[in-house]
């Protein structure tokens, strides 16, 4: 279904494991990041919020996301996405605000991400 609707690719920016030392906790040492490509995905630019901020909605399948999450040792995908740095959209980093999980027969099959500036 996602391929029929466009089959785009999205990039999620994740912070690499922190050193956890005092400098990183004091904001002196920024974490390094990894950009992870996820496909297929459907990207839709939602009507902007009242204050004009950009809102993006992304549909991504669990099948595409699960192997990537597994490689990071992630068990809770929505929580993992919410704590990522955000989506890269035309070079702009847009934080993920909500993740809605669709389930069928006890299994997750689709995630709806909403990212806002």
């Amino acid at each position: 279904m996602l391929r029929v609707l466009g089959g785009e690719q999205i990039t999620v920016r994740l912070a690499d494991p922190s050193t956890g030392d005092t400098n990183s906790q004091l904001g002196l040492e920024p974490p390094t990041v990894s950009d992870v490509q996820i496909a297929p995905a459907v990207v839709q630019v939602a009507p902007p919020a009242k204050d004009g901020t950009l809102r993006i909605q992304v549909l991504v399948s669990a099948k595409a996301l699960q192997p990537i999450a597994d490689s990071y040792g992630v068990t809770n995908i929505p929580d993992w996405l919410l704590h990522s740095q955000g989506l890269l959209y035309h070079g702009q980093l847009v934080p993920i605000a909500t993740v809605v999980t669709n389930q069928f027969a006890g299994g997750e099959y689709l995630y709806l991400l909403t990212a806002t500036e």
């Binding site: 690499d16 922190s18 050193t19 704590h83």
Partner: protein, 163 residues
């Protein structure tokens, strides 16, 4: 001001490790004491974690401008919990009391030697910061969470050559 903020955080963090070493969180794959400064974390870092202390810095002003250079700065420590799933979240009041106890413990004694951490090492600035007793707000009941804000006023002498 930055040295005051850094010193206060490092002091209460180290005290938390001493009084409640089990109270930890995992951020970016690393286990660390469950206390963090909100302004030092990514802006889109998701909702606040449960059972963790978040430090928010507020306004600052001279205490008695005509008399002294002493300044005061507001600090709010926020935290929330939902108890444990094993007890059906019925222990959220007890969990909050445990967090309250930790706040009391890490805020005493109410002073610390001020250090400059901007170079990556702690450089003693031969000065002291001190603070008021914590003031606990009413419970913030947002089911399933139970939380609280704690207000503290931190006093310090600003360093002229300090950022």
């Amino acid at each position: 001001m930055q040295a005051t903020k850094d010193t206060f955080y490092v002091t209460v963090r180290d005290r938390l490790v001493a009084v409640d070493p089990q109270r930890t969180i995992i951020i970016d794959g690393v286990t660390r004491p469950a206390i963090l400064v909100a302004e030092n974390e990514p802006p889109g870092g998701g909702p606040p974690l449960c059972d963790a202390f978040y430090l928010y810095w507020g306004g600052a002003r001279a205490v008695q401008p005509a008399v002294s250079t002493l300044m005061e700065m507001e600090c709010t420590i926020s935290y929330r919990t939902k108890g444990t799933d094993q007890s059906g979240n019925l222990d959220r009041g007890r969990a909050l009391a445990s967090l309250d106890n930790d706040v009391l413990a890490i805020c005493a004694p109410p002073n610390a030697e001020k250090c400059d951490y901007s170079t990556g090492a702690d450089v003693d600035l031969s000065s002291t910061i001190f603070w008021t007793q914590p003031v606990f707000s009413a419970l913030v009941n947002a089911p399933p969470y139970l939380g609280r804000d704690v207000s503290i006023t931190v006093f310090f002498y600003p360093e002229v050559n300090q950022t």
